[in-house]
Symmetry: C2
Subunit: 351 residues, 2 copies
DNA sequence: TACGTTTCAGAAAACGTTTTATGGGCGTTT
DNA sequence: AAACGCCCATAAAACGTTTTCTGAAACGTA
């Protein structure tokens, strides 16, 4: 190798002799505009502090070279990456996906990028692993969407020193939490059915290690108890239509059962099906309420009475709280997103 | 301010006098282990090139200080960030969400982080903007999940110089493309209906500016033409159950229509509903086929015959192709993921 | 005109890692 | 016993930005 040219300050050529092997740096812009790198940096970050004509010259150079600041270099000195991490379960479920999109949208509006880390499972170890991955990426803040009890426990043990907000993690966490009003929604759903004259309401729940499942069970139970009703045994599914179908078949066989509150709409689809197969009409013989209000809910046959969760608000609030923490604020530490009962045709008066 | 201590090399104290205001750097580990920073770096990156006893000492120090490499610094010198960008439409639709998760999973397995950029709309400008955002984040490669025609056009104009793979973008792109076999799936669905004795098959499509919608229209049309059948006018929806319902009502009124191929399962839900309301039985009077095989499909009433897309494969292949490109390979440039007709109870012999 | 104040721009150091080049110790070969 | 390699470890430079400090010019006022 003969000598080699100095790397710093020289015009960039690639092996073939073409210009621009490496992309433009601050230095290149500065040279073209005839100013120092600092002036370029300032022009970009605090434009008002540089004289209009200088600014114009710099911006022209930026434009001409298609200059894009190197985030890594900036981050190295500022300590901020402009990236937010989102840890979530790796699932097709409507809720988590919708929440993720809402977070991303809110973050983007504020100029943050979003790094996602999916989790195969969600034991405390696995969630710690996800957090570790994102910390390695130097994220400025973290939103943990971990609806499992175990995961929530994992959140407690997390390394501090990084702003963090949990979504759906239940009460009593050492970090700010945003969650939908599962309990209230479930109670309203149950109350609605009781109000229609049903003796009691059966419940098909989600996996009991999910916070949301627990909240819905609790709301359902307390509504029954408030009305002095018998609290039937909880049937526990896994959120899938298939599990709804399977458990629904049990219930369909018992003619005394006239009202079912299902913990999510997907399982409700399976329940509706099992009732159809058993020849029990909805809502004439049996009333069904779901949870989530997935887009299909209003177009099932019959259309599904359900509890709507506003995932967009959920994600938006999670981001807002995180931003607050990142700025050092600490006012709010729990935000409950209200849920809404949407009455459609799958519920009717008790037979 | 009195003097101030030198920042470099000094032990880190915060204002209160506690240690570890800043997190451990290579230098700190090196000091503790009694070696140079380079030895630490090598221990972490090429462990076999350092003597076992030294290695042990270094690793102990790493452990003790809870050292995590600073990605920004590493990236600054290597030019690699270890981050992949995924730009996608900002939607709740099952397909895109499932694809994103599949990509994330595959990337994670290979040690890459994933940065997502949602798009409000997907005109060429908006997609260029999304790509720009991710380039700023110094991603090592880019997967563009942009099912719109307009977006696909936008991909053509993208800045080169960054490995890029498009998902669902159609043929003839200047970049590698991974897509599901929309056309074949639609043709099989249509052929299935014709095989059951139906005169012809009506089609409710997705928005015609979506590549997937175009592919399915084309498959449906060619299957009809191959059978010498009349090709009815295409009714175009927006993927939502509501639009399926609205368009379904038109078709439900015409007793000559006995077979409908719907471009996705969500719209099919709306179609089923409109048929029920009109008193037309499925499959006795009308047969319906959907597309996607969403989890609910098998539990609708009647269960829905549909074309299954393997989104996991789609995402996995997209990542594989991208990795290939990032390594400089250029063998494959088009990968078609096969689709599969799943026959259930919503299709039957022509009346 | 001289002085103090403000505004604008530049120089140098620093962020934490890897790349490249160099040096010392040790075993093997003649 | 000297010379040659090889392995292991180190020193210094470089990546591209911002922070901090310093200087010069421009402005207003006395």
């Amino acid at each position: 190798m003969e000598g080699g040219m100095p790397r710093r300050g020289g015009t960039a050529f690639d092996q073939a002799g073409n210009m621009r092997a490496r992309s433009a740096a601050l230095r290149d812009v500065a040279a073209l505009a005839g100013v120092s790198t600092m002036t370029v940096s300032r022009t970009l970050n605090e434009p008002e502090r540089v004289r209009p004509d200088t600014r114009a010259r710099v911006l022209a150079a930026v434009e001409r070279l298609d200059y894009r600041p190197n985030q890594a270099a900036r981050q190295l000195v500022t300590g901020r990456s402009g990236v937010l991490g989102v840890v979530g379960v790796d699932t097709d479920l409507y809720g988590p996906a919708a929440t993720l999109y809402a977070i991303e949208r809110a973050a983007r509006r504020s100029g943050y990028a979003v790094d996602v880390a999916g989790l195969g499972s969600s034991d405390p170890g696995s969630i710690a692993e996800g957090v570790r991955r994102l910390r390695t990426q130097q994220v400025d803040g973290l939103i943990v969407v971990v609806p499992h009890q175990a995961a929530a426990d994992g959140v407690r043990d997390l390394h501090p020193g990084l702003p963090l907000v949990a979504v759906d993690a239940g009460w009593g966490m050492p970090v700010p939490v945003v969650m939908a009003d599962q309990t209230g929604g479930a109670a309203r759903a149950t109350g609605h059915l009781l109000g229609l004259g049903h003796e009691t309401v059966w419940h098909i729940s989600g996996p009991v290690d999910w916070m949301a499942a627990q909240g819905r069970i609790q709301g359902w139970r307390s509504a029954l108890q408030a009305g002095g009703r018998l609290v039937p045994e909880v049937l526990s599914g896994d959120w899938s239509p298939q599990s709804g179908y399977r458990l629904g078949r049990h219930l369909a066989g018992d003619p005394h059962i006239t009202a079912i509150f299902v913990a999510n709409d997907q399982m409700a689809v399976g329940v509706l099906r099992s009732l159809h197969e058993a020849g029990r009409r909805v809502p004439e013989d049996v009333s069904v309420v779901g949870f989530d209000d997935i887009p299909e809910a209003g177009y099932l046959w019959p259309s599904l009475t359900t509890v709507r969760q506003n995932f967009r608000d959920l994600g938006g609030e999670a981001f807002r709280l995180l931003l607050q923490r990142m700025k050092g604020g600490t006012e709010e530490s729990l935000k409950i997103i209200s849920t809404e009962l949407v009455v459609r045709r799958s519920t009717g008066r008790a037979p």
